[in-house]
Structures are given as C-alpha cells and as structure tokens.
Symmetry: C2
C-alpha cells in the first residue's frame, strides 16, 4: 500500500458504504447488511469482493435490475428445510432473514438446508459460511452466477464461476474455511488483472473463438473462463448449477435476461446451504480433530491453509485500520456525496 493510503476503522468503512447503498435506493436495513459484507471483504484483503465492487453495486441498482428495498419471504417448508424468495433483491438480506430459523432447525435436527432464489449475490461466499463455524457448525454453500465459464471441452459459456465454500470449527484458531470458484480463476481477479494490465497464467480462459488465451482483456471481451482441474472442476460447476438453481427454483447462470437493464452487473440466480451440527456426530473432540488434520497438512509441507492469510490480514486491519488507496477512498467519498 502506498504512502498516500487512507486507513479506516471497520465501523467507519461500514458507515461510508452504507451511505452509498442508501443513496442508491437500498433500504437502511439492507444497506447495513451489504455494507458490513463489503467492508468485511476489504478488511480481510479479499479485494476482488471489497470496495472494488461498489461501482458495480451502484450501477446495478441504478439500472433497475436489482431491488435494493426488497423484503425477502422466508418459507418454513420442512423440519430441516428453509426456502427464501429474495424477490429480486440482494442475497445477503434474504440470507439473514432466514438464518435464525435455519440455525434453530440445525440445532433441532442435526442438519438443515437453506435454498434461496430470485437473489443477487455479488460478494464472496466465505462471509456467509465462516460465522456458522464460529458458532460451532459445519457449513457448505454454493452459488451460481452468470455464464462466463465454458464446460470442459466446450466452446460456449454455460456455468458461472460457481464458487463452493466450506467452513468448519477448528480448535485453537480461526475456523478452517475455503471459498473457491469452480472456474480456474475468479471473475473479479480477471477484472483486476485487466485493469492492472497483467497477463494471466495459462489455463485460465479462452477468447471469443474458444481458443486458449492468457490476456484477461480477451477473456472479458467475449471470451470465457475454464473450469479448474479439467473435467472434475467441470462436474463441480454443474453440481453448483443443480443445487443453486434447479433445486432452489432460481435461474441458471446463462438464463436470466438483463438486456433491458444497462449497467446491470449482478447475477440473478440462487444460493444453497447445508449446515450440520457436528455435535450430533458423536465425536466430542471434533474441533480438535479438525485442528489435528490441518496441522498434519502444514507439517507435510503445504505452505498455508486457505483462509489463513485472510485471517492475518484481518488481524492487521483490526490493529491498524483498513487500508484503502487515496484514489479508492476518494471514489467512495464521491459516491457517497450528495448529487
């Protein structure tokens, strides 16, 4: 971070982002949730889902594509099954509307699922799952997005980046958490590379003719990403479509029509969660066992576990404030100002 960096407390960054959301038609209730989410990503160094996303939020709201004031409808459809109709709003307010009922069902039954539809998810997935692990639960979540990934061996984009996130309690340290796109690279990282003028490593994507390319601009200009890990990552991407869209009643990544909403950037799809109470597994030392296998992986020579760098970045930000470049900060202040 350069010398001209601005450092904000988490509370101050949340307040600034909240003003931007409210100014652009988001209800105060929803704005608080979205601002906390976006500031949390920036705080943890999860930059492709941090304040970098704010112009996209704003232009999507202003296009009329997403309803910032949506009030989600939570449906209790089974002892261990919750559905939510996000009614064209962002996913996070719909998720938080359903979360207490979901937790209640997990505690009562040992496992429960949450199926969200007609929702716009424009953030990382780890903020959704990590708090479950902090409360002692194991959580798995998937979300589909917008068609930008060609199937293995295919030419036409069908899948979204379709991340899978998993969180588990781990004794003695922050939860074990991963949040990984089923594409070879996250779409936000391609945008950041394009903006920075960096080449990508081979195997990340194809150009508009379906030919391999390392140029992020060619990928963004009518090209597409590849799944990670060949046919295996491809199968995971397809599973994510089935769970997030077919099961929830939402749209597939290639299905929604935003052509009438210039400036729209948010995928209008669905999200799926499975949350498990490991105490029912009968293993009293579950969190200790998770810490044990994580330690074995590090002892075997793996450099770090997913999430670990993010937790270190968070600790630094909690001590020193969240660093923003002067340019990013000025942009946010301008978005928050009266027009």
């Amino acid at each position: 971070m350069s010398d001209d960096a601005v450092h904000l407390s988490h509370a101050d960054l949340v307040a600034l982002l909240e003003r931007i959301f409210v100014k652009n038609g988001v209800s105060e209730h929803n704005a608080r949730i979205l601002a906390e989410n976006c500031a949390g990503c920036e705080r943890d160094g999860s930059l492709s889902h941090g304040v970098f996303r704010m112009p996209g939020y704003v232009s999507s709201l202003n296009s009329g594509w997403v309803d910032g004031k949506a009030v989600a409808e939570v449906e209790d459809v089974g002892p261990a099954f919750v559905r939510v109709d996000a009614k064209g709003g962002f996913t996070q307010p719909a998720f938080f509307a359903a979360r207490p009922l979901l937790i209640e069902k997990v505690k009562a039954n040992g496992v429960a699922v949450l199926a969200i539809r007609r929702s716009h998810h424009f953030s990382a997935l780890w903020p959704d799952v990590e708090p479950f692990a902090e409360e002692g639960f194991v959580a798995l979540s998937v979300v589909n997005s917008m068609a930008c990934v060609v199937p293995h061996g295919g030419k036409k984009a069908v899948f979204g980046t379709n991340p899978v996130a998993f969180a588990s309690p781990r004794a003695g340290s922050a939860p074990f958490v991963f949040d990984q796109a089923s594409s070879a690279i996250a779409h936000g990282d391609v945008q950041i590379a394009a903006r920075a003028g960096h080449e990508l490593r081979p195997g990340m994507g194809v150009d508009r003719d379906g030919q391999p390319t390392n140029d992020p601009k060619e990928i963004l200009d009518g090209g597409a990403l590849l799944p990670f890990g060949g046919h295996k990552g491809n199968s995971i991407a397809l599973m994510v479509e089935i769970l997030s869209a077919a099961l929830t009643g939402g749209y597939f990544s290639g299905e929604f029509d935003w052509s009438g909403h210039k400036g729209a950037q948010t995928p209008y799809t669905g999200q799926f969660f499975v949350v498990i109470d490991p105490a029912r597994g009968g293993n009293d030392v579950f969190a200790e066992r998770v810490a044990g296998i994580c330690d074995l992986v590090l002892e075997a020579g793996q450099e770090r576990l997913p999430g670990d760098r993010r937790h270190l970045t968070r600790a630094k930000a909690q001590r020193d404030g969240i660093p923003l470049s002067a340019e990013s900060h000025a942009k946010l202040v301008s978005l928050a100002a009266d027009r």
Copy 2:
C-alpha cells in the same frame, strides 16, 4: 475384449463373487451386498472397482484386518441425523443397515445426513449415491481412504484419494452422477497402469522423494499421488477428511495402523452422506431442470457427462452379459473353489 472372453449374467457373477466372499469369512448377508456391489462395478465398466479388487478383498479378510461378519450398529441420533458403527466391517453392509432410516428421515425433514465410522470402503462411490437419485433424491457422499496423496506443495502423503460422489434425478434419462477422486487419478487406475506397463499423464503423482513422475510403479513404490486441480482439489481432499473422519468419529487416511495385518488393503476410515428431497425445494420441475442444464452442457460442446458411458456399458452388459477375460474368470473360479 478378446475372443476368449466369458460373458456372465449379472446374477451369475453375483453368485460367483458371493461364494468367494463366504469362503473367506464373510457372513451370507454381507457377502450378498458386497457381491452385488462388485458385480455392479464390473457390469458398468467401472473396472478399477470390479473383479480386479477381489484378490484385495480376499487378502484383507484373511489378514484379519476386516471383519466380514461384522453386524453394524445403527444409531438414531437426531431427527435428521443417523450414525452407524460398522464395527470393523465393510462399509456397504453398514450403509444398507442404516439406509431405510436415512430415507425415512429425508422424507420427513427434507434432508438428512448419515455418518458411518469404523468401516472399510474398498469400492466406487457411485453405487452408494446413484440409487438415491433413482428414488428421486439428491445425494452427496464422501469417503476418505489411505494416505497416498500429498497436500498441494507438500512432500508427505496425508490424504486418501478421497472421492466425492453426487447424484441427482434427471428427467428422461438415467440420473446425473459423478464420482471423482480428489486426487489427480484414482489409486486403482495407477495399479492398472502399473500392471499394464503404461506411463501416466504428467501431474498425477510424485516419487518417494516428492519429485514429479509419470511412472505408476514409482508412485506405488513409496511415492504418492497429487490432488487434482492444485490447491482447489487439495481443499476438497481436506474437506473429505473432516467430514468422513472428524465428523463421523472415524480415522483419518494416515491414521489407522494395519502393520500387524500382512495383506491388508482396505482403508479403515469413515463415510459421510447428505441426502436431500428436492421436492421440498418447491420446484415441481426439478428433474426437468436438471435435464435442461445437462443438455446445455452437451450443446456447448462437452463430449459427454460423467456417468453416461457407464450407463451405456451397463445397457450392453444387460443385453450381452458381463464380459470377463478368460484369465479373470478362471481366477474367480479358483478363488471360489474348495481348497
């Protein structure tokens, strides 16, 4: 298949395998289940888990490592949570002992989980999940195995091949099913390549010094496999350990001690299932939607979906019988003969 191939009906192959299991100390009840499973793999062309495995079953039983007569104990530990203690026997009899209760819970609650521990899984995972999809459910299962996969960037094997299997109903055709190791290649396929003297593609494994190798014999002789898809496949392998061992109360892949059982080949770990009733998702056309996204993937240029070739092989075997080489057949007959 050469001209000297023998063709057996499914029933005849099951009966032959059943005799081998019973002869080697498996109860009649358990033998039937294991024989059906192994014959099903052979029938579907899933050869690395077909009759190729019979000598391994036999030597594991004879070593005293696995209890072929084990009677699993099913524990009803929550409205949507079933546990099973396989008591040192094979996983499949434990799974079938718990399956009716699991299905009952899925129907009653919308989702349920099954956690199996102290179990030996020596087969493919698709036979466990596919029947759920045939009954209208979505199923996800994971199983850990024996340490033969180094973590991403690591030198020492920690993970098993740790497959993930998923099955979903699909309108108008057989279920969509995948069953994929979180290693770059299945261990059985390395054994087959070593036996055939074939080289592997690059990126499959390392030798005993942790250096990349394409020689299956070097991988088997003190070397190890690599996870698929770099750090992402690695995270999936670690998730499989957490769900299959930490959550169930079973052993991690590198933890069990079979040193006192010469000839033992079966991993003594755990298995985990999540089974979902998609009807609770409120999408009446769920199976049609799954067929729709599968069709889109094929239209985009993907050659085939996982499971499709297996279903074609099955159809052929149901028509013409299950083909076995004369050598394989003779070996089975010899294993089944009185000694």
